[in-house]
């Protein structure tokens, strides 16, 4: 796809803005490990609302959902309904308990939360969580790098490998310098870019096509099911809605809830976050629908790949400078997810393994911990980069497990840990193991996978395993005290 110089400069301007935010945030983030990983729990409600919703939406929303709506039409809308509704409830109920508990027990990571909640003195639970995190997060970040490489290759006359390196370097610079504050502030800019692109492109494209009626008429001619949101099977509908079950288990989203400065502001973040999620989700669906009207045959798209619809439509509809911003919005989606995941993975190494397991929480210099955190982010970027260069196909294969695996392992266990006094440490181990195993086994049995998305059975079986094992094992001694903090 050819682009002119104006688009390139608009994009470069955006990248400089990101690096600027990294430098701006670096002084604050250098103060201590809590500042580096959760912004010192001082994040403004607007920043938390936007960063919680955009960290969860990777390039999947801009490229994947638009492509899905292009291929399937209006039924694809259910893929966005599930997670939007789940995240509304997370903001209002789950987030509040997690935030209260983390402040009372000085938790800055999700393993911290589990370790404090279940008196994990020997560090076994913490270690199990760190292993799950690192496995899924490094693969997840690698996939974001690969997506960045592809987007650079299709937009700016670059090879995919060059694009991959460039994506990694940009993310590395502002995440190492600025930590969580930089990741959250850039998320906010990125949320604004994404919403702009997801509203302006479909609106302009529908207008130029002759209005919504013309678009719908054209889609009906291709296939009447394209304009009927209910023309899908129960299994597919459940699979689409079930995507939302992943949200309470993905630590890069949950860390946002820990970071808010005042727990009462969560009401406000619920409304702003949901509104943002709705506009982004439905915008992506409309792009897919109008895109199909413009390009009725898949072979009209570059490489016959439905995931190329979004940049193609943008290039066709928009002024080159605005197109540069749209390309930036793809990177915004990739980067806002990758930076958050890198921080979660680095916090698992420095906070959970080094600080809490090796040094058993003895007083360590905050400056030293921040330095180590930066080094670990650097090493993780190198690892993810190597992984993405060596095994691009494998990376995408692993990512399918990342959202489902984390969602099934951590979602049910964290919900029960927050809401049920009877939950035990052994129950959590059972839930983690069941969630991860069922996700993988289900994925490998075609007859199961073809009928239902693996996250749904894995989530509910993990919930059942946690509950059953908890019934027959010993509760923590301080459970009443813990629930006083949780229920505040």
């Amino acid at each position: 796809m050819a682009v002119d110089q104006q688009a390139v400069w608009a994009f470069v301007g955006y990248l400089l803005l990101l690096v600027g935010v990294g430098i701006y945030s670096s002084r604050f983030s250098s103060e201590g490990i809590s500042e580096f990983f959760v912004g010192g729990r001082k994040m403004n409600r607007f920043v938390v609302a936007l960063s919680a919703v955009v960290s969860g939406r990777s390039a999947w929303l801009l490229l994947g959902v638009t492509g899905m709506a292009y291929a399937q039409g209006a039924p694809a809308v259910w893929a966005v309904v599930g997670y939007i509704v789940v995240e509304l409830f997370l903001f209002l109920y789950y987030a509040r308990r997690l935030r209260n508990f983390s402040e009372a027990y000085d938790c800055i990571t999700i393993p911290d939360f589990f370790a404090e909640r279940f008196n994990d003195h020997d560090g076994k639970l913490r270690l199990a969580l760190v292993v799950v995190f690192l496995l899924f997060m490094v693969s997840y970040v690698s996939a974001q790098f690969v997506a960045g490489g592809k987007a650079f290759a299709s937009s700016f006359h670059m090879t995919q490998t060059e694009g991959l390196f460039l994506t990694a370097v940009i993310i590395l610079v502002y995440t190492v310098l600025g930590g969580f504050l930089a990741a959250s502030l850039t998320d906010m800019f990125q949320a604004i870019f994404m919403i702009f692109a997801l509203v302006v492109i479909p609106a302009m494209a529908i207008y130029e096509f002759g209005g919504l009626q013309a678009v719908l008429g054209s889609l009906s001619e291709i296939n009447p099911g394209m304009v009927d949101p209910l023309s899908l099977s129960v299994g597919v509908l459940a699979g689409f809605l079930g995507i939302g079950l992943g949200s309470p288990g993905n630590p890069h989203i949950l860390t946002r809830y820990i970071s808010i400065d005042d727990v009462r502001q969560l009401k406000w973040t619920a409304v702003v976050g949901t509104t943002w999620n709705v506009i982004m989700g439905w915008g992506a669906i409309f792009i897919g629908l109008v895109g199909r009207a413009y390009f009725p045959e898949t072979d009209m798209l570059p490489g016959s790949d439905t995931e190329n619809l979004y940049p193609l439509l943008a290039q066709q509809q928009l002024h080159p400078i605005i197109f540069g911003i749209v390309v930036a919005s793809i990177f915004a989606a990739i980067m806002s997810t990758a930076d958050s995941q890198l921080l979660v993975a680095a916090s698992a190494v420095v906070r959970d393994v080094y600080d809490r397991i090796i040094h058993k929480g003895r007083e360590l210099s905050q400056k030293k911990l921040v330095l180590y955190s930066r080094l670990v982010v650097f090493i993780l970027v190198i690892l993810a980069l190597a992984f993405s260069l060596l095994a691009q196909e494998l990376v995408f294969w692993l990512v399918l497990f990342a959202w489902a695996g984390l969602g099934a392992a951590l979602g049910p266990t964290s919900i029960l840990a927050l809401y049920w006094k009877g939950t035990t440490k052994a129950g959590i181990f059972a839930g983690l193991l069941t969630g991860t195993t069922v996700t993988i086994v289900w994925y490998y049995i075609p007859v199961l996978k073809d009928n239902l998305y693996e996250l749904i059975p894995a989530f509910f079986l993990s919930l059942l395993a946690t509950w059953l094992v908890s019934l027959y094992t010993q509760k923590p001694d301080n459970i009443e005290e813990v629930f006083i903090e949780l229920e505040k």
């Binding site: 209006a74 809308v77 309904v81 939007i84 509704v85 509304l88 209002l92 109920y93 509040r96 719908l216 304009v227 009927d228 949101p229 209910l230 727990v263 009462r264 969560l266 009401k267 406000w268 619920a270 409304v271 949901t274 509104t275 709705v278 506009i279 989700g281 439905w282 669906i285 409309f286 505040k488």
Partner: protein
Amino acid sequence: MLSFYLTMFVLPAAIILLSFILAANVTFEELE
């Protein structure tokens, strides 16, 4: 076609409205 308009326009508006209603009904008085 009615289902299209309901799902594409009424449903998103209803979800945003639901967020307002739920947020207005969550109380944090213990902290206030």
